[in-house]
């Protein structure tokens, strides 16, 4: 049933035997509706079981399969073969160390995600027996977009500032902080500001906007970051020029 033969160039790196990564090319018979992940799975099952990469859901929701496809950060399960020529080159996500083949080391990202206190810090505690918080559809909509992040890290691979300054907390983590800040049930903004308004926080972002261009879930992290900057600036001026305005 094969409809097309492609050449899949895969970046290989085996830390036990290689001193640097190299490319290996596979001839893969593909169906046109396939995604790059299907081609990789074909390689793994039929051509070379030693290729390592992460994946699980095959439906662009688990965030495992981020990689560079022809130089662009993509989810392998949402990169359609029919959108590419007969040569497709896959590499591990940029800006992350390579563990092995297409697998990157993501500790840095996970640590940053945890650092922004990404959980609801309620204005006041409410027992479960008191029932749910009320939240209007409009209030939900205010932050909904920023809840859609699947932690795929494509934005980190696209953001040059993260590549240049690895301490930068980065687009997804700051967007997540913004998500909770904007939630009508939350009262924890002050606490999160300490992290995200710090030097390595939002101020390392120069609004390149690449993060939003590559985000597969249309989270628009660039937008979140600019909003955080605006709010932090207003905070600062309020605090320093109008100290009496401080809550």
């Amino acid at each position: 049933m094969s409809e097309r033969q492609i050449q899949l160039e895969v970046l290989r790196y085996n830390p036990e035997t290689d001193s640097a990564p190299r490319f290996q090319t596979y001839e893969v018979p593909c169906l046109n509706e396939w995604v790059v992940l299907d081609a990789l799975n074909y390689v793994k099952d039929h051509l070379d079981p030693t290729v390592s990469y992460r994946w699980s859901c095959h439906m662009a929701v688990c965030g495992s399969c981020g990689m560079m496809v022809n130089g662009e950060p993509k989810l392998a399960c949402k990169a359609f073969i029919h959108e590419y020529g007969d040569q497709i080159r896959v590499e591990p996500l940029a800006n992350f160390p390579i563990e092995r083949d297409l697998v990157t080391v993501v500790d840095d990202f996970i640590g940053k995600l945890a650092s922004v206190k990404p959980y609801l810090i309620p204005k006041e505690d409410k027992p479960v027996s008191a029932g749910e918080y009320k939240q209007s559809p409009a209030e939900l909509k205010t932050f909904k977009q920023y809840t859609l992040c699947i932690n795929c890290m494509l934005c980190y691979a696209a953001c040059p500032q993260y590549g240049l300054v690895p301490d930068f907390i980065g687009p997804a983590a700051i967007s997540l902080a913004h998500r909770y800040n904007q939630d009508s049930r939350d009262g924890g903004r002050e606490q999160r500001q300490e992290v995200i308004a710090s030097h390595d926080g939002v101020w390392e972002c120069s609004f390149v906007g690449a993060c939003s261009e590559v985000c597969p879930k249309h989270v628009d992290p660039a937008s979140a970051l600019q909003q955080v900057k605006v709010a932090s600036t207003i905070d600062w001026y309020k605090e320093h020029l109008m100290p009496w305005m401080k809550k």
Binding site: E194, S198, K229, T233, D235
Partner: protein
């Protein structure tokens, strides 16, 4: 507080405001000076008219506001741009660009006050 909050908002405020102002008016101003450069001096740029505006306190304020924001916008962005070009001595760069902006600000005040 665990990590100190950054003081970037001080300069980011004028950067953002300046970016907006310059986006709205700089192109048309350049157009006017371009006319002057081409030998056709627009009425706004004649000595009499411009002097009249700058002599007026409201006029002074508007000119000052525009130049101030425009300077600080450009200075701050220049700092980031130099960083992007690989110049990593951010502290020195910051001192240099903000010094230029301060100098321009002071000069503007000085000249505006001399016009009466």
């Amino acid at each position: 507080m665990t990590v100190a909050k950054s003081n970037k908002p001080i300069v980011w405020g004028p950067f953002a405001a300046g970016g907006t102002i310059t986006a709205f008016v700089t192109p048309v101003l350049v157009l006017l000076t371009l006319f002057a450069a081409l030998g056709f001096v627009p009425s706004l740029l004649t000595y009499e008219n411009l002097h009249a505006i700058a002599a007026n306190w409201l006029g002074k304020l508007v000119i000052f506001g525009f130049i101030l924001l425009s300077l600080w916008h450009a200075a701050h962005r220049l700092r980031v741009t130099l960083h992007d070009f690989g110049i990593r001595a951010d502290t020195w760069v910051a001192i240099a660009v903000y010094f230029i902006a301060s100098l321009g600000t002071v000069a503007t005040i000085f000249y505006l006050l001399r016009i009466s």
